[in-house]
């Protein structure tokens, strides 16, 4: 049975697109068939983070409006053949997405893929609501920072009230993913720690992704961070989070600071 997951947060810039690419790729790396969808009409970026920006021909809106078929619009990843992406339209206005159109496409995708990962735009407007509407599960991406936690709380409320599953009396499964976690600041007590955030939001924790220069490098070159022969701590955290989504019971690792000689030397060099 295909699973539809929305990656959402309310707040912008917390790492939704990075997370969509990383989780999508990590799921595909286990051999499952995965499609990632960009719902940010007018401001698409998932194509860029995935490194397929030169190959986008048709987008989500083209498919909804019948100008292209789904198979024409899906772009297959060259590194992971069982990972595909459906780009958002860069040119149309946000109203081009309709609930009926999105529903039809998700239905069609459910037959072709094991996982459908929806990258939500920021905010709680139409685009964000459409991204979550047909989801079975939600990943709430949160930075350990007051405004992000507040917006996450808000989005959890929206997930529980406007989505198809909640309207039909069901319960949306929600997971918290803490990103941009800085072990140094946490150790100094200058950052909300994991327990603080979990206390406030009270949804199960999917993982903690440490702040990492590797994330910027991955988006620079257009490769999901988990695609690496030598995965960084952040990549490993994403791989573990994807395994937890697949039902594996893996202990969650709270990132800690390592202060080896090489780390020190390295810090100096940058």
């Amino acid at each position: 049975m295909a699973k539809v997951i929305v990656v959402t947060s309310g707040k912008g810039g917390v790492g939704k697109t990075t997370t969509t690419a990383a989780i999508g790729a990590a799921l595909a790396q286990t051999g499952q068939k995965v499609v990632v969808i960009d719902f940010d009409v007018g401001l698409r970026n998932l194509d860029l983070v995935m490194g397929v920006e030169r190959r986008v021909v048709f987008d989500f809106v083209n498919v909804i409006q019948g100008e292209a078929t789904l198979s024409q619009a899906l772009i297959q990843d060259k590194r992971l053949p069982n990972l595909s992406i459906l780009a958002a339209s860069q040119t149309r206005d946000k109203d081009a997405l309709t609930q009926e159109g999105v529903g039809k496409i998700i239905e069609e995708l459910r037959e072709k893929f094991d996982w459908i990962v929806c990258d939500s735009p920021a905010g709680i407007e139409k685009g964000a609501k459409l991204a979550m509407h047909f989801a079975d599960q939600a990943i709430v991406v949160t930075n350990p920072e007051v405004s992000s936690v507040r917006d996450s709380d808000r989005i959890i409320g929206v997930l529980d009230s406007t989505t198809e599953i909640s309207v039909n009396g069901g319960k949306m499964e929600k997971f918290l993913l803490i990103t941009r976690y800085d072990p140094n600041r946490a150790a100094r007590g200058d950052m909300l720690n994991t327990d603080d955030v979990l206390d406030i939001l009270s949804i199960p924790l999917l993982g903690i992704i440490p702040e990492s220069p590797e994330i910027l490098k991955a988006s620079n070159v257009g490769a999901p961070i988990t695609i690496s022969d030598n995965p960084s701590a952040a990549a490993q955290a994403y791989i573990a989070a994807a395994k937890r989504l697949q039902g594996e019971d893996i202990a969650i690792n709270i990132p800690t600071e390592r202060k080896g000689f090489f780390d020190w030397l390295f810090k100096r060099s940058h």
Binding site: R54, L216, S219, N220
Partner: protein, 104 residues
């Protein structure tokens, strides 16, 4: 550039990021409304010409682009059923390159 930076310099990712952005933005700026509209029209017109002679299933048409600095390539692959018996198929492959400058 300090001694340490040089010492630890591996393959940097920022130049790659810059090049990717330059290519992408050149295309997005030059074709108002993006070039998906152009590609859509091209595909429709090419299909119409072919459909005058043979029937083509919309789902058997694959359009590919690759945007580059100086030129882009457009490829259209059409799978058409053989006239004699329905089982065999032939592929029509149309490829073209166009430069950015000519489009403006």
């Amino acid at each position: 550039m300090s001694f340490f930076t040089k010492l630890f310099q591996r393959k940097n990712s920022a130049p790659i990021a810059k090049e990717r952005l330059q290519i992408l933005l050149a295309h997005e700026r030059s074709s108002k409304g993006g070039d998906s509209d152009l590609l859509y029209k091209l595909q429709q017109e090419i299909l119409k010409v072919i459909q005058r002679h043979i029937s083509v299933d919309q789902d058997k048409v694959q359009v590919k682009v690759d945007r580059n600095t100086d030129f882009s390539t457009l490829e259209i692959d059409i799978e058409v059923p053989q006239q004699t018996d329905g089982n065999e198929t032939t592929n029509i492959h149309i490829a073209s390159s166009h430069s950015l400058e000519k489009n403006e």
